[in-house]
Point group: C2
Chain length 253, copies 2
């Protein structure tokens, strides 16, 4: 049996005033969600917090005690508002200082004469952390305990995720199948509920959308780690949809 016990979970902490003010539109949540799902990790919660140390520490501690992994984005640049590394060190109660390995990485791109105090901020790494290479602009992320700290710039974050992904423990991949009902959500909600109550081990989501023909339509998304149970639920949903159409005299899925 493939059960919940094998699930590997993650929390995501997005750090940055610019997301909360709306000045910058986050592009990382959707990317990370899709990426983790694809490798068999369930993203279970996301939080967005401002550049305030106590807020970052509190959210990080709440998430890291609860999920297999926590990913963070943002706040690891060279300016005074980049406080993620210090907040992570505080959350883990470890010291933080310029890391010679990180400094060496910065020097691959930055001349020694330009490695001022601001840029050296990007080499400040909590004690005991492993570095996460940044092939885009060198300044590394890091991995401490179950927390993986990444940049906020999407291209850099994506490269860092590629770096760490092979090292992550992954669960049995969540399988997903979509049945398009060719019906309004409200017309299938009742019978769908009955199917969901029988197939309790398969997650069934209902997502209305406007079809290209201008008529309301509904996608039913079934998710399970067990192929046989997923197939059984998909068959039940297809039959339910056919019955709804037969009863209404409409053309089914």
């Amino acid at each position: 049996m493939v059960g919940q016990a094998e699930a590997v979970t993650a929390g995501l902490l997005v750090i940055g005033d610019e997301i909360l003010s709306g000045r910058t539109k986050d592009r990382n949540i959707g990317y990370i969600a899709e990426y983790l799902t694809a490798v068999g990790i369930d993203l279970a919660e996301v939080r967005v917090v401002p550049d305030i140390e106590d807020e970052i520490v509190a959210a990080l501690n709440a998430l890291r005690t609860r999920y297999t992994y926590v990913f963070t984005t943002g706040g690891i640049g060279p300016t005074h508002d980049d406080i993620t590394a210090d907040a992570v060190a505080k959350a883990f109660d470890v010291s933080i200082d310029v890391d010679p390995r990180a400094r060496a990485m910065l020097l691959e791109r930055i001349a020694e004469a330009d490695l001022n105090e601001a840029r050296l901020r990007m080499a400040r790494i909590p004690a005991g952390a492993e570095l996460v290479a940044n092939p885009v602009s060198k300044a590394p992320g890091f991995w401490i305990g179950n927390v993986i700290v990444m940049a906020g710039v999407p291209t850099i974050m994506q490269a860092m995720l590629d770096e760490v992904a092979p090292k992550l423990r992954t669960g049995v991949r969540m399988l997903s199948e979509t049945v398009t009902a060719n019906a309004k959500e409200g017309d299938i909600g009742g019978p769908l509920k009955a199917v969901a109550e029988i197939h309790t081990d398969v997650s069934i989501g209902s997502y209305p959308f406007m079809g290209e023909d201008g008529r309301p339509n509904t996608n039913l998304v079934l998710r399970s780690r067990d192929p046989a149970r997923l197939a059984a639920a998909v068959a039940a949903v297809r039959m339910m949809v056919a019955e709804v159409h037969a009863a209404r005299g409409t053309v089914g899925a």
Copy 2:
């Protein structure tokens, strides 16, 4: 003096498995962030949680005790996975049932014969809540205590936000000014920190970007509710940038 005491804050709770699986890319966080900022409400925190009642209740209770308002999106449709209204009733410890006002709104769009049990789910409203009209598809949101429950479909959510906005208490609007440094973030990080340490009542964010000329550039975003303090900090930042360029022999902002 215009102080923090006058700030009106908000939390945002995004509800839905489809956001966490990456199947649907959220388009509401950025919209709501920008909208609230524009009317003088500070979005202080965002959480994304799955369609699990205990998770919704816990997040809602954490946010509603902390911020002036909490906005939620998602989970108010006609299917079994739409559990937001029930979760909100549970969080407030009030009863929930089909609300005659909400039922009447549904009947503006749905024939009585089609108002099945599934569609009536959309009229289930916690006791004591005010309805939020939905000019797009009629099924209302609602407002209970300091919590405003909205649809997840962006066009409907946006219409609901327009409905409630005139009734919200708003703070003194946050003013914002951007100085483009024409310099790499790492070249101004040190002197910028010095400016930020003097102008502690102005929030100063630093956002690197790649200029159209292909050179790294940096936007410095200054935010305050006090026009005079903002102007003083902007002047200090402009002077700092000019000094950095003079010292490096480069062309300034």
